[in-house]
């Protein structure tokens, strides 16, 4: 605002009569002043926008943000979540009884265009001969690398939990897909004119109406629970404490990759479940490093200034050389 006032002052000063060169012209700003004013306003507008945007920045999450807790010891691999997900998101699906087809478990599947979540089965079994079934989908990271990588803000981390995607902004660069540490994003390569990135959005169209995500709602064993992330973490740790022989003492997603909105409990150590979709990730989001580098370079406009200074120096040196 101070700058604006200063500009106005400048305008009023510039408008004083008796400026040399044009005594007969009416009082008004000179061309130079006009350019200066316009440039200042433009800078303010752009700068203000840039400041107002929280794009890719952590620390804006609601303490009441929602999450889903998955208990892998309960999941029986009935694949009803896959069906409900497809149904709720307008993806193609057959009748519900087709979910009983267990042959799909022979191949490792990843969420794709027509299927935002899939259930995989471990190849190994536990002492009782039971395999582990694990539903995987977008993990809705707390500090999502896809959001950080998105050039145009099509990917956004909603303060209430979900990572959302706006196809109207998307330019199809697919940086988000490269950035995702879980490799859960897919792209409509077969859609010629308006391809979209496809991912789970935690059924935000349902949660907006007060319902739970479709997969959570249909899970017959209640292996999935939807609630505040804080509550679910408490529940998860209480469950581990209550049944220390049943669970491995870790909630996957609490800190992995900077934390995720999907939290997993398991009987087996998650290190043994890497192929089921539980990669070993550091506690910091991969986005943190890239952002610290990128934002560090451009902090206070340091990079352009240094570059400008370098260029000017180079120019001067070169010009001297030419003159000699």
């Amino acid at each position: 605002m101070k700058a604006l006032e200063a500009d106005q002052a400048l305008v009023s000063r510039a408008g004083t009569p008796g400026t040399p060169g044009s005594p007969e012209t009416p009082a008004g700003p000179s061309r130079r002043d006009f350019v200066r004013l316009t440039a200042t306003l433009a800078a303010l507008t752009i700068g203000g926008q840039a400041l107002a945007s929280d794009h890719g920045k952590p620390g804006k999450l609601s303490p009441d943000r929602m999450a889903v807790l998955v208990d892998l010891t309960r999941c029986v691999g009935c694949r009803r979540c896959e069906w409900a997900c497809a149904d709720a998101n307008g993806n193609p699906h057959g009748v519900i009884a087709e979910c009983d087809d267990q042959s799909v478990f022979t191949a490792r599947r990843n969420p794709g265009n027509g299927q935002f979540c899939v259930v995989n089965r471990s190849e190994t079994v536990d002492a009782a001969g039971t395999p582990v079934h694990a539903k995987i989908q977008c993990m809705h990271c707390e500090h999502p690398p896809c959001v950080s990588a998105c050039l145009v803000g099509a990917m956004r981390k909603d303060p209430t939990g979900p990572v959302t995607y706006d196809p109207s902004r998307c330019i199809g660069c697919r940086y988000c897909m490269v950035a995702c540490p879980f490799e859960r994003l897919s792209y409509e390569y077969d859609r010629r004119f308006t391809p979209r990135v496809r991912k789970c959005e935690m059924c935000r169209h349902l949660t907006a109406k007060g319902e739970v995500p479709a997969c959570v709602g249909i899970c017959p064993v209640e292996a999935l629970q939807y609630g505040r992330r804080e509550d679910l973490l408490r529940i998860a740790h209480e469950r581990i404490a209550r049944h220390p022989d049943t669970y491995t003492d870790r909630v996957y997603g609490e800190t992995e990759g900077g934390g995720t909105s999907w939290l997993y409990l398991s009987a087996r150590p998650f290190e043994t479940l890497a192929t089921l979709g539980f990669p070993a990730l550091p506690d910091r989001s991969p986005a943190e490093r890239t952002e610290s580098i990128q934002h560090g370079i451009f902090k206070w406009g340091a990079a352009p200034m240094v570059l400008g200074a370098l260029l000017a120096t180079l120019n001067k040196v070169t010009a001297k050389g030419d003159g000699a």
Binding site: C78, I96, C219, P220, E222, I235, E238
Partner: protein, 334 residues
Amino acid sequence: MIALLAVPMLLLATGLPFPPTAGPAGGPTDLGPDVLMLDQVPGCYGAVRFDHRLHVGMSKIGDGCKVCHHTEAIQPCRTCHEPVTSSVTTDWPGLRGAYHQQCLSCHREWAHENACGFCHTDPSSVIGPQGRAHSAFKLQEPRATAQNTYVYRTAHPGMPIVTFHHADHAEVFGLSCADCHGGNSCGQCHGPAAQRPVVTRQDTCYRCHSSDRCITCHRLTQRPRFNHAECANWRLRPGHDDLACADCHGAQRMPGRPSSEACRSCHAAQSGGTFDHASTGVVLFGDHALFGCLDCHAGGDDREIARCTSCHETRPVAGQREVGHRALITTPGD
């Protein structure tokens, strides 16, 4: 062997209004209803017909009613579990979650069965409350299997070999699965990946065998299957050979010598209340009447087996009373 445990489970869904069959009324020993219709959970499927009585039978291998009802106080699932799950702030399953978690915790381990149709059957295949579709489920039932004989090499310095004839214990001694394997889960005995169920000497062997009599189990060599004539050195003839072990041996530790009271409990009835040895044609004189049955009948239940020479010598021995005329009490074959 463990056929008892492999009682086929029966869970059928129906849309037909079968009323639950009432079980015996009231009381903590009540076995509950025969059949329950689980129809309070809204969802894609119709009601599930739950054969409660079948599961009561199965629960004996585990912790009894507590296996499903959690506590000694038996109450319906819906008393604590709400039909509609709304809470996401507590770790308390709704009715649907409770049903599925409870049922599948055994079914999945037992049969590795997670197809919904196992319980949510086609309504056309529903059988009335009085009918039990055992035959249909016998096809799916993974029976428990066990070897007839297990041979263990132990660290016992003198007698390292322990031969355990599982078939003898299950078939000859008449033990049920739960007698030794109580507390094991279904899947430990049943199913493709069945493990050897956990048994401990303390809870199983020592209930029937003395822990301080090593030779009961430990030998230098492998033992043959149980044969009462060879192992107990007492032949069993018809009349005795179809009795249960406990009919003669009672609750005593095995191997054990049956008491004379055990013999009299049957033989007294045959001779009208009180057993009189004279009714067999042999009168017991003097101190002989004080002997236990097995003192004379030492080798089996053949009437001719009682021997004088086990006590008496034909010649006088110092310190032993001479019996008058040997021919009077000797057996013809002797």
